[in-house]
Symmetry: C2
Subunit: 320 residues, 2 copies
């Protein structure tokens, strides 16, 4: 099996360049191949920058995920952060580190996954770096643009705000649990809610927004920390109204897992969680505007703490 | 010895935040702590983006370099890319991966090095990501601003152009060789030539520019690939006129090394190499304008290939 040690650094960089060759953007003045890339924001736009890395053995295992899915996921989790700010993607850089023993096929498929996601969401690769390391890691920095002053931050929740979430919950945690139990690989990469975030940023009286990477409870806590003058707020959730992923209850039972825990603490769903003033649109109207299913899941209250769930579970996610 | 496994991810992130707490920039609208950072370029500016990573065992070893130097270097090599584009730094993101067994002191010193460099060059940390891994890696993405259309690229060399280099050559390779021979640790991080690059970008009739990371010969070849309509050009160098680092010849001899090879193939000097039309300023005038010693080292010629050196040595740098 041919592996990375059969190639030199420049040959690998050339392979990456080829995978992205036909991807262009009018706002990328200068792409791959110089000391740095040049991005030209439109007038009156702020630039949005986010960094997230996937590391082999920490964020994925080859046994449970196809390389192309790993590649797509590496970009999509970053695009999800852009979505949570209401931004339009402009481009990304990649710092790729890989062991010399990595089969070139796996490398190629991973890069292909990145290129597929880049094309799908209009976010070309503009630069990067390739290095040897003891395990594969994909450090992505994505940048996007948003009208100045209109970015969706995590701040600004107020008591009385209604809480909404896009899409469904628990699907990612279920897929991971199934894969770890040897019942099939993870096939789907998270879908960044870019259109939804951009539509939210255009709305007036829009409250805070965050993407669900650590799980509903953990990320809701981040939103509740951003109340007026930094005050910590609380939330009353409607556990029965949570939008469970299809088949979550039945499949969780089969694995001996609790569906509510998967949906509230599982993490990695990459849906948007946001708050709106009480007078704002209903879930039905939002579903149309955001072009994705939107569910109202509860209300922001003054008293700190989250109520309404059978139990407050947090993802046991420890990196160290 | 306390090490990273005694801390959770959020505690480590909090430590990083503290190291950068007092660093602000008027163009960073939103820094660490949200889904993404917000950067506001001035009107008529292009955004410059570059990514470079340092990996333990590949780009540095703890035995030969102090952690604070490793941290400074991780940012400075990126700032050097901004310098080579003529850009002013705006901020950077960091994807840090580290083994749980890393002593917390080493982690803290590395972060301190990053913060020192960030303060010195006015480039605050605006976001990032911390993860477990089998070795330390610091993936930095730095961004800066340059007047639209005035960035210094690698393209545009013409036959007859005069070639210049800032500072001195061979010092980094000598320090590395000394350290590997057990004669003292590497103490200095490369100094990004930001003022020089910005001054160059303000000049008219300015040709291409690159920073010396792979070595004079390898990086000069990159410049010579960027001739009119992609034509490959050549260069005649004046080997006797190369600005050797102080003591290079004597110390190289002591280690049994060739001074010219260190200066032309050693790499990592992070000086600027640039070409100017023949009618442009002399090295003396440039030294004043760029606020750093500038040496004229040769001329661009039509015929591909580099002549004038005793031998054409290339760094034996292979990542895989």
């Amino acid at each position: 099996v041919r592996c990375l040690s059969d190639y030199d650094e420049f040959a690998l960089i050339a392979r990456i360049e080829r995978a992205f060759r036909d991807q262009r953007s009018p706002q990328i003045v200068l792409g791959i191949g110089d000391d740095a890339a040049l991005v030209r924001p439109r007038r009156g736009e702020d630039l949005v920058v986010t960094t997230d890395a996937l590391v082999e053995g920490v964020h994925f295992r080859w046994e449970t995920q196809a390389p192309v899915t790993i590649g797509r996921r590496a970009l999509n989790v970053n695009l999800s952060d852009l979505a949570a700010m209401g931004a339009r993607p402009l481009g990304f850089t990649l710092a790729l580190a890989a062991p010399p023993s990595l089969p070139i096929r796996r490398f190629g498929e991973t890069v292909r996954g990145l290129a597929l996601a880049a094309r799908r969401y209009g976010c070309p690769l503009v630069g990067g770096n390739v290095s040897r390391a003891r395990e594969l890691s994909l450090s992505v920095t994505a940048f996007g643009a948003v009208k100045a002053g209109r970015a969706l931050t995590r701040r600004g929740a107020r008591p009385g705000d209604r809480l909404f979430v896009t899409g469904t919950l628990g699907g990612a945690a279920l897929a991971l649990a199934r894969a770890e139990a040897g019942r099939g690989r993870i096939r789907r990469a998270p879908e960044p809610r870019l259109r939804a975030g951009q539509a939210l940023a255009r709305m007036r009286k829009c409250g805070p927004c965050i993407d669900l990477s650590d799980g509903l409870v953990a990320d809701l806590e981040h939103l509740l920390e951003g109340g007026p003058s930094g005050r910590r707020l609380g939330a009353e959730l409607n556990a029965r109204g949570l939008p469970y992923a299809t088949g979550l209850r039945a499949q969780a039972a089969r694995l001996g897992l609790d569906a509510e825990a998967l949906a509230t603490a599982g993490g990695e769903d990459y849906e948007l969680l946001f708050a709106l003033r009480a007078s704002c649109a209903s879930a039905k109207v939002l579903t149309r505007r955001l072009q994705v299913a939107v569910t109202e899941i509860g209300t922001v209250v003054s008293r700190p703490g989250i109520s309404g769930l059978s139990r407050i579970a947090r993802a046991g996610w420890r990196h160290f």
